[in-house]
Every structure is written in C-alpha cells, then in structure tokens.
C-alpha cells in the first residue's frame, strides 16, 4: 500500500524523467521509508511530510529545467520579484498608495457585505423568488389584516398559487419547569413550513390534526429558544409547557435561526377550529408557469367576489400580492443602494489618487524606463512590470482592506437598534470574496494602466528630452493630471454633500417636537392573566395599585398606564362617529387612534392639556363615559370652534356603543415616529375601559434604568403571574424609530473623512510632484529677486482651475445623486445652499492647505545650493 503511494507520487515528475529515473527514485524513497518506519510513527510522519515537500519542489525543478528558453512564466516570476523590490525601494509612494487603496477597498468591503447580504444572497427558503405575501388593502389603509374567512376564501379559489398558508403573530408568557419567559411567536396554518421549505431538526411539523379542536394542543420550538431555555435537550419532545396559560405539548424543534415571520421563538397551529382570529398575512407560492401579473389579476377578481358577497365589511377591500423578498427586505434595500453608490464614489476617488501617484512616479522613472528599453526590455515587458507593481499594491491593499472592512461592518451592525433578522446576514461567503478579489484586481489594473500606457507610447526619446523639462512632461500628461484633480475634487465634494444632506435631515428631525417627554421616562408592558369574572375591576385595581406602589419610590416623579406607547409606532385604532357630523361613506371612515390611560398620564408624559381637563379619580365605572381628544382631532372636526362638550361614539351613529363627552383637548403626540404626521387620537380612562394588558410609563428623577429592578419587584409582588416585558426607556424607543438618519449620518461622516483624506493626499501629491520638477525654475526666480510669495503662488496657480471646475462638477453631481438617493430611501435631506456652503468651504480649505504645503516646500529650497548642484 505504501509502495503504491510512493509510486503515485512519481507521477508529479515529467514523463521522460519518470521513465528514466523512476525506478531508482522509488527504490530510494522506499529505503528511506523503511528506515523511518523503524524509528517509529512520528519519524514516519515526518518522513512523509518531508517527502511531499521534496517531491513537489523537485518536480518543479524538473519541469523548469526542461525548457531550453525561459518561458513566459519565468519572465513573470522575475518581474514579480523586481516589482516587489522596486516598490519596497520607494517606500513613501508605496505606503501612500497602499493607504489610499486600503481606505477605498476597506469601505468597499464593508458596504459590499451589506449589499451582498441584502441584494444577492437568496432568502433561506426553497425557491424564494416564487413566494408571495398576501394582505388586504382598504381606503386609508396600506396594509390591513385579513380575517381567517378571507384567507380561506382566497385559498379556495386561487389557481395561480400552488399553495397558500396563513400566519399571525402571538406573544405571551411561556412557562416550563418552573421558569417563565415572555416570548414572541407565530400562529401558523399547518402547511406553512413545508411551503417555505423549512424542516424541523427534531420531531415534526404541524399536521392538519393539530388544527382540530379535539386534538391536544401542540407547540413547536425555535432552534434559538430550544438552545437558550431548554439547554438543547434532545428529550424535549413530548414535554408539556404552558403558553399564554394554555398547556401544550412540544412536538418539534425548528432548524437553525429560523424565526418566521420576524422574531418568532415558537409556533402554535392556526386553523378554522383553533384560533381563527385575524391573520397578519398569507404566504403563497406561485404555481409553475404563473406570473406575478397573473396572480395579481386573479386575486383582484377574487377580492371583488368577496366584496360582492359581503359589502358591509369588505367594502373596497382589495388584495395586494407582494413578493416575499420585497416584503422582508424593503427596509434594507434603499439604504444599501445609497451606501453602495457612495462607496463607489470613494473607490473611484481612491483609484484616481493612486493613478495620479503612479503617473507622477512614472514620470520620475522615465530615465529608468528608457534605460531598460535601451537594454532590450520590450515595451510590452515594461508595461507588464508596471502592471505587476499596481497589482501588488492593490492586492496588498485588498487584504488590508478586507480586515478593515470586516471590522467596520461589525461596528456598523452594532449601531443598528436590533440584531439583523434571521433571514439576513452580512457574512462574506466564497462567492462574495471572489467578487471582492475581482474588484481589487480590476482596480489595480485601472490605476496601473495609466503609467503603463504612458510607457508603451513611442515617445521615449522625447521623454529623454523632457525629463528635465520645466513644465514637467508633455502637455498630455499635464492635462491628464488636471483632469484627475478636478475629478477628485468633484467626487470628494459629492461625498461631503451626501454627509451634509444626511446630517441636515438629522437636524431637522431633532427639531420636531415629539409631544412627549423623552428624558428619564421608563416604559414597560404588563400583561395580566385574563380575568372574566369581575368585569375588569381586578385589572383596574391592579394597575391602580401598581401606580401607587411605583409612585411611592423616592426616585419616581410620577407614573401611569397607557394602552399604546407614544413614539413606539404601534397603535390600536378604530372608527368613530361624531355627534352632529354626517358619517362618511362605508370604507372611508377615518382611522383614529384610541388609547386607554390612567389619570396622571398626561402629566407623567409631559403632554399639555390645551383646553378642558385631564382625567381624574372622579371618572370611573359609575360616572358617564368621558374622553380627551388630541389637538389634531379637535382641529379636524371643529376648526374654529370648541370641542369641549361635544360627543363621540365608536362605530357608526346607530351602533350600540354609548356616546362619550369630550372633556379635554391634549397636545399632539407623534405616535409613529418623528418623521410621520400626527394622527388623530382620543383617550379614555382605564377605570371606564378596563384592559388586562397595558404599558406603564414612569417619569423618574434619576437615570431610569436604575429603577428597573425595583419596579420588577413591585410587579411580581402584586401579581406573580403577570409578566413584565418590553422594558425600555423612551430614548431607546425614539432611537428605534429614528435610527435611520442617525446611522446614515454616522456612515457618511466616515465616508466624508475618507473622501477628504483621499482628496487631500491626491492634491498634495500632484502639487508636490509638479512643484518638485520646477525647483530649478523657482530657484532661478528667487535668485533674480522674485518674492517668495509670488513664487509659491506660481507653484499653486495651475491647480486653481481644475479645483474650480471640480467644485462645479461636484455640485451638479451632488444634486443629482441626492435626488436619486431620496427616491430610494427616507432620511435623506436636500443639498441646499447651507449644506453646499459648509462643504465647499471645508473642501476648499483642505485643498488650499494641500496645495500650499508642497508648494512652500518646493520653493523654499536655497537657490544657491540648488543652482550650484546643477
């Protein structure tokens, strides 16, 4: 056996040598192997390793020595060593070039990892581009929850889909083995997992049986929950746990990070018999051969059929068919595209920089190149040498940039308010790395092309003459340099303006009054086990006790409950009728947010009462129902009149709900975030509208996170079965809704810094180069009496025009690109005069410094010494 391996190794050698020496080599190998074996296992292993090495090396020697003439490969190897040495010799240039490219490629790597994750990598489902999300739309609603009946109706009639399933979100306490978690989960129809193409790693998925009311209640865990709370116990199947008070048997554990729809940690079955409530949406797979427009047409027809059958509740309701990819990734695609564009600018800037540097170097090495040519190196060979140098620079920068970019990406991920969803990953796989390598090589070729071409041109003889030319090379090179400067200025200005626009939008956002106190307010949710007996009196008492106990804490200013937290972005809404106002047509009722609060809420959250009064203890179950409306509501219905004393009720005027009197008007609050408009809203008092689940807000005198433990103790003391969750400060909630402009501004600040640095290096380099070639001229001028200032001015003057042109080009480009960016995502401001003036001043300042410094240095060489050395 071993002998056969040895014999196989011989095949590395060329055939002729193998036939001639093979037997002898084999004998020698065998002899040495036996010797090693006699000395022990370790010795044998060392033998094999050294034999492998020896065979490989000698195989290369055999093959190389066969050639009578040096081959192309040999030439490249020689050139590579020469390129390496020549780069090491010119340390300043090499370091600068690598720095510029590392910044450019590093930024590219970071952004590309996001781009790849969002745009290229497929979602972790089977055939994800054939999956669709279906939901309802209605006038005034861009997205409405379909009822189970609607879903069943669609499923029964749709032929353009080969499968349709539904899901809804659920949240609640999960108790097992004595410990309790508050978890998010999904209620899904049995065929959902197979439709998506995901399988459990343990146990089974749901079957139709699980949907029957007579079957035992089942539950499936997510991989993450299983690992976190169940210790990855393989015996978890069959165990009973309690979810939302109902005992269920665990029948399966899902794979990996799967958490459909968003952050689900467990799933329960949903069917007509079990949990037939509203769905979040339906998921469907396009039938083979069906197109998106086929599906949309069919669903439109089905929606109309449903409307005809039930005009009351289905008035003007339509079905929207959206690709699942779009639904899951919509929020990411815009920003990633904007970043991608911007980083492209930076990469071009960096490449132009290095091309500039290489051109300057190329000119300085003209003599070396001419000599090489005279000694017989072909033009092609010299050009190849220069390209090899560029490739070495770009690949080194690429490797460094990769490390830098990955670090930057991780930093960026930490700026996001939450972790990336399970279906999205910014990791770089083999394909992504290959693309990055391709970009690196391409960039290297691009900036190597300039000097390589310059060399390949047949004006070496003029080059000899012009090597000492005071103007520094022939007109073509000079013009090219000016173009590069203009391009660099334009690109840098564009990136700066991008940052300015982001920053401005952030500033604008900060000016918006949220309508509530943001400082030192803690919020959390508490959910009581449902009580049906006392008509909610227990719930009211619980929240009253809770508020009292919390307010006893010395660090607490005040506290109150509210059914939906302001700013946090979710709200319950309903239709209202106003007494004396003609109700709108069906399907066109305005949507009004309604909240249930405790007395003291307005005070706690710093919401002003503009007219009338807030709630008090005098408002309770025994007194007439009262409401407080917000300013937007009051202004909408009574623009110049008084809202106080008017009456409203839920539903249409003939509904069974009681009329409620408006006793107060409160300030507007931005429910959905600072950049969204104010919605109409009304408030009711908890005592008159009991709820067993509510948010609680606590205005604290100190840093609110300090209170969390004490508040938790109070909640547990009052009701040990009531979980407390979603604990955050209002500032954290605010960040969740406005993180976009904040993160954009940060990213663009980094981009701007890079762009300014690159621009400065580029301008410095080119001015240093041109000025250095004119030191003789400057020395002469100074010697004959020209003032220093004049001479410096001379060195700087030629830069002015390209910079000016670059500024103009940059302005145009900025306006164009920000307009494009605004179509892609929110949070991008405009490039107005304010932004432009700031960025232009910054850039011109940097350019001036970058021009002055090298000019100063070049003109302050002692003319006497310089002229004497000539």
């Amino acid at each position: 056996m071993r002998r056969r391996i040895l014999a196989a190794l011989l095949f590395l050698y060329p055939r002729a040598d193998r036939e001639r020496f093979g037997g002898e080599i084999l004998d020698l190998m065998w002899d040495r192997l036996q010797r090693a074996r006699r000395r022990g296992l370790l010795a044998e292993m060392r033998f094999w390793l050294s034999l492998l090495w020896d065979t490989s090396r000698s195989a290369v020697s055999f093959r190389l020595s066969d050639r009578v003439t040096p081959s192309a490969l040999d030439g490249v190897l020689v050139d590579l060593r020469y390129a390496w040495r020549s780069l090491v010799r010119r340390r300043g240039f090499t370091a600068t070039a690598i720095l510029c490219m590392t910044l450019g490629l590093g930024a590219t790597t970071a952004v590309f990892s996001a781009f790849y994750g969002v745009m290229v990598r497929p979602l972790p489902f089977s055939d994800p581009d054939r999956l669709a999300v279906l939901f309802e739309t209605a006038p005034g609603f861009t997205r409405a929850s379909p009822s189970f009946r609607d879903y069943a109706f669609w499923k029964g009639r749709a032929h353009t889909f080969s499968g349709m399933e539904g899901y809804a979100g659920v949240r609640g306490p999960l108790t097992h083995a004595g410990s309790a978690d508050f978890v998010e989960g999904g209620a899904v129809t049995p065929g959902l997992f197979p439709l998506l193409g995901v399988e459990p790693v343990l146990g089974r998925g749901f079957t139709r049986e699980d949907g029957r009311a007579t079957s035992p209640a089942t539950l499936i865990l997510s991989g993450a929950l299983w690992r976190r709370s169940f210790g990855s116990d393989p015996d978890v199947l069959g165990r009973t746990v309690s979810f939302k008070g109902e005992p269920r048997t665990i029948v399966g554990v899902m794979e990996g990070q799967f958490a459909f729809p968003q952050n689900a940690e467990l799933w329960i079955p949903k069917s007509a018999e079990r949990d037939s409530g509203l769905l979040s949406a339906a998921v469907a797979r396009l039938a083979p051969g069906a197109t998106w427009s086929d599906a949309r047409t069919e669903m439109d027809g089905i929606a109309r059929q449903l409307e005809a059958l039930d005009p009351e509740s289905q008035a003007e309701r339509r079905v929207e068919v959206r690709p699942l990819e779009e639904d899951l990734l919509w929020g990411f695609r815009g920003p990633v595209a904007v970043f991608f564009l911007s980083v492209g600018l930076i990469l071009v800037l960096a490449t132009a920089n290095v091309a500039q540097l290489m051109l300057a170097q190329g000119s300085a090495r003209t003599r070396e190149m001419i000599l090489r040519g005279a000694l017989g190196a072909g033009r092609a060979r010299t050009a190849r040498l220069l390209l090899l140098e560029s490739l070495l620079v770009s690949i080194t920068a690429g490797a460094l940039g990769l490390a830098l970019g990955v670090g930057a990406r991780d930093l960026f991920l930490r700026w996001l308010p939450e972790r990336l969803p399970y279906y999205l990953s910014f990791d770089l796989d083999a394909r992504a790395l290959l693309v990055l390598l391709g970009i690196t090589v391409l960039v290297g070729l691009l900036f190597g092309l300039a000097p390589a071409l310059a060399v390949a041109r047949p004006d070496l003889f003029t080059g000899l003459r012009n090597a000492g030319d005071p103007v520094g090379g022939h007109r073509g090179a000079q013009r090219f340099r000016a173009v590069l400067v203009a391009a660099q200025v334009a690109l840098a200005l564009t990136v700066l303006n991008g940052a300015g626009a982001m920053f401005k939008s952030l500033l604008d956002l900060n000016e918006v009054d949220p309508g509530v106190s943001m400082d030192r307010v803690l919020s959390f949710q508490v959910s009581l086990p449902q009580d049906h007996d006392t008509g909610g009196a227990d719930a009211v008492r619980f929240f009253d006790d809770l508020r009292e106990e919390i307010q006893k804490l010395p660090a607490v200013e005040s506290a109150a409950s509210v059914s939906n937290l302001p700013i946090a972005g979710s709200a319950a809404g309903t239709f209202l009728s106003v007494e004396g106002v003609e109700p709108p047509a069906r399907g066109h009722e305005p949507w009004v947010i309604n909240k249930v609060v405790q007395p003291g809420f307005f005070h706690t959250m710093g919401i002003g009462i503009l007219a009338g009064r807030a709630f008090s203890r005098a408002d309770h179950a025994g007194t007439p129902h009262v409401v407080v409306v917000n300013e937007a509501f009051a202004r909408h219905y009574w623009p110049d009149g008084n809202a106080l004393g008017k009456r409203i009720k839920y539903g249409r005027p003939d509904s069974g709900w009681p009329w409620m009197e408006i006793v107060g008007v409160s300030g507007d609050v931005r429910q959905f975030g600072l950049d969204r408009p104010v919605e109409m809203g009304i408030y009711e008092v908890l005592a008159q509208q009991p709820m067993d689940r509510s948010w609680v807000v606590v205005h604290s005198r100190v840093e609110p996170t300090v209170l969390i433990r004490q508040v938790r103790e109070i909640v547990t003391r009052l009701n040990p079965d009531a979980p407390m969750y979603d604990v955050k400060t209002m500032r954290e909630w605010l960040y969740r809704t406005q993180w976009r402009p904040v993160v954009y501004a940060r990213v663009f600040n980094v981009f701007s810094g890079i762009a300014l640095l690159l621009g400065a290096v580029g301008i410095y380099g080119v001015v240093a180069f041109t000025a250095a070639r004119r030191t003789r001229e400057f020395a002469v001028r100074t010697a004959v009496g020209a003032r220093r200032r004049e001479v410096v001015g001379l060195a700087m003057r030629w830069v002015l025009r390209p910079v000016g042109l670059g500024l103009m080009g940059g302005v145009a480009l900025s306006v164009l690109l920000t307009r494009l960016a605004r179509t892609m995502t929110v949070g991008v401001g405009t490039v107005d005069l304010g932004v432009l003036s700031v960025t232009t001043v910054i850039l011109v300042g940097v350019a001036l410094v970058a021009t002055y410094l090298p000019a100063y240095r070049a003109t302050h060489v002692d003319p006497v010494t310089l002229l004497r050395s000539e």
Binding site: D17, F21, E24, L28, R32, T55, S58
Partner: protein, 119 residues
Amino acid sequence: MASVDASGTKPLTSSAYFILVALADRPRHGLGIADEIERRTGGETSLGPGTLYHALKKVLASGHIEESDERPDADDDPRRRYYRITPAGREAVRRETARLHRVLTVARGKGLLPDRGRS
C-alpha cells in the same frame, strides 16, 4: 556555492558537489550515493530523492558523471544503475575543493573555524 571562478566555468551547486565527492572513490548507485552523503556528513546533509535525482540529471548532462557497467557491490539487483565520475568531473570537483580550501584558510585565519575535538 554557485559561484563562477576566475576560469569562467559553469558554477557547481552544492548538490552536484556532494554527488561528485560521493563518487570520487568508487562508482555507486543512486541509493549508495544518498547513503554515502548522509554517512560522511554525519547525517547533516540528506538529499531527498527528488532533489538528488534532479541534481544527478544535471550532473549527467554536464558530463561530470556517466553511467557505469561496473558492479562493485555483490549480490545486487541487476536492474540497478551505477554511476561513476568522469575525468572532467574529477577535474571539476578538485577545482571546487581547492576553492573551498582557500575560503576556509581565510576563515581559519580569522578564528572562525570551530575548535578541534570533533572528527
């Protein structure tokens, strides 16, 4: 050791040198050459099979050694190929040894040689 001396002849690599030295006293086969080199340098120099035969091929090409018909080892595999040094090879190895000797003389004069005491 790949130097060109004053006579301008082609350089002698260390592997080639060792092979010539190994064949200086009598013809050997490949395994014998490898054993001889290892033994004589006290295990310090050990040429891998590939390296050895590549060098062997080059030395053959340069005419310093040739295949031999003599079979000095008894009870030996007739398929084994023996090599012997040629006059040109003898000349080359002598010249290189002399050069090395000159180098060592200088080194010894500067006290660079290790103390005697080991053979």
